[in-house]
Subunit: 243 residues, 2 copies
């Protein structure tokens, strides 16, 4: 892990860009750290540059609550090499949606499974590197989409103690089996009228999670319209489970 830039934000949180091999990432740490901070991994749909304003807003809120946050670019997004398989799957997905057809399971599998297979070990490597920094300690939370990535991480990575999962992307059936293995506390955010989201699938996935402590918060406002109070509730979830 190599830090390549560092800046103080106006609220005094520290933002550092890094690379982890070829993977770019960003780490935010709270302004005042008397002791190593718990960590939240910020998931997103890919494209750090495009996602930066929203990631920064989440990082600031988390920093104010005493959490370090970090994110890395997804495989095939941003400046990372494209995947021909994923690009073809995305084109097929777009074609199906435009034709008003149901999206075939095999398209979802081609789009999502290779992404999950590649991304999850990368997030785990990032976790190795981040937890070796003196200013960060566990416990660790995962917050965001892609929900299939968050689900796999929650199922396989024992260092993740709690997760806020954003419904709103396609989930292959096989991920439902992994969801049944998840036992950590979960807080699932669903935008009820998310135009690009299969609501029933999100409800089915919430039902599938094995966790005895799981909460679903559904709100209005479209895909990017998560209300501010919903973000604050997610922060309180992490405060309950990571501090």
């Amino acid at each position: 892990m190599q830090f390549i830039s560092e800046q103080r934000l106006d609220d005094d949180a520290l933002e550092r860009e890094f690379t982890l091999g070829e993977i770019p990432g960003i780490l935010w740490t709270p302004a005042t750290v008397s002791e190593p901070a718990p960590l939240i991994l910020l998931g997103h749909p890919g494209g750090l540059r495009k996602m930066y304003p929203r990631l920064l807003a989440r990082a600031r809120h988390s920093a104010a609550a005493g959490f370090a946050t970090a994110t890395i670019e997804l495989p095939g997004s941003g400046d990372r090499p494209r995947s021909a398989v994923a690009e073809q799957a995305r084109a097929d997905l777009r074609r199906a949606i435009q034709a008003g057809e149901p999206v075939a399971e095999e398209i979802v599998e081609r789009l999502i499974l290779p992404l999950v297979d590649k991304a999850v070990p990368e997030w785990q490597s990032a976790l190795d590197a981040l937890l070796s920094l003196p200013e960060i300690r566990g416990p660790v939370g995962y917050s965001g989409g892609v929900i299939a990535i968050g689900t796999r991480l929650a199922a396989v990575e024992p260092r993740i103690s709690a997760a806020v999962l954003f419904a709103g992307s396609y989930v292959p059936r096989t991920i439902f089996d992994e969801a049944r293995q998840v036992t950590i506390p979960l807080h699932v955010l669903l935008q009820w009228d998310d135009e690009g989201n299969d609501r029933q699938m999100a409800l089915d996935l919430f039902d599938a999670f094995g966790s005895s402590q799981k909460t679903l918060h559904a709100n209005m406002g479209g895909h990017t319209g998560v209300p501010q109070f919903a973000g604050e509730e997610a922060n309180r979830f992490f405060t309950r489970h990571l501090t």
Copy 2:
């Protein structure tokens, strides 16, 4: 409205029992009231005596947040005269559930619609009386079940500005039409694995509400197992909308 008892609780909130004609009720007001308090009507499934511990807990939390709360007995519950129609419908409902049959819409209608028809004007009369007290002012919220009563009240009573609705009781189809007329901010609580609740019906009702600000919070823990943090989130909803 006649007050028939008065006691200071150990946290200094004031509890007063009252009667409104033949209807018993309870009013709780915060310990320190520098100005008239906003009011939350506490809905419940009937049986004030049995419900008292849970109502008291909700009243204490609300009082701590500066709200007055009040509740009245439902028609046919507690010490109020039984309804032969409702008793028969309840028996038919029990028989259907024990036989593992789907509950017929006409049973739900016989059970719920006369209750809603009778209860809603009673809550409105209680509101008249409560808002005439110098220590209470609007805005007014409704919090609790029976969700069909809360839905009708939210649809027809303009003095109610926001509602926390507890899913967990049967809803006749006609109430769905009334739900579409509701435009106030809503916060719907659903116990996901509520043994006595039709989850899909609750989700369909949430979808039907016309409110542009509506939130669904689903939690684990069975019918009476609403987690404490979920109660706190509901309180914050009222603080956002009634203060």
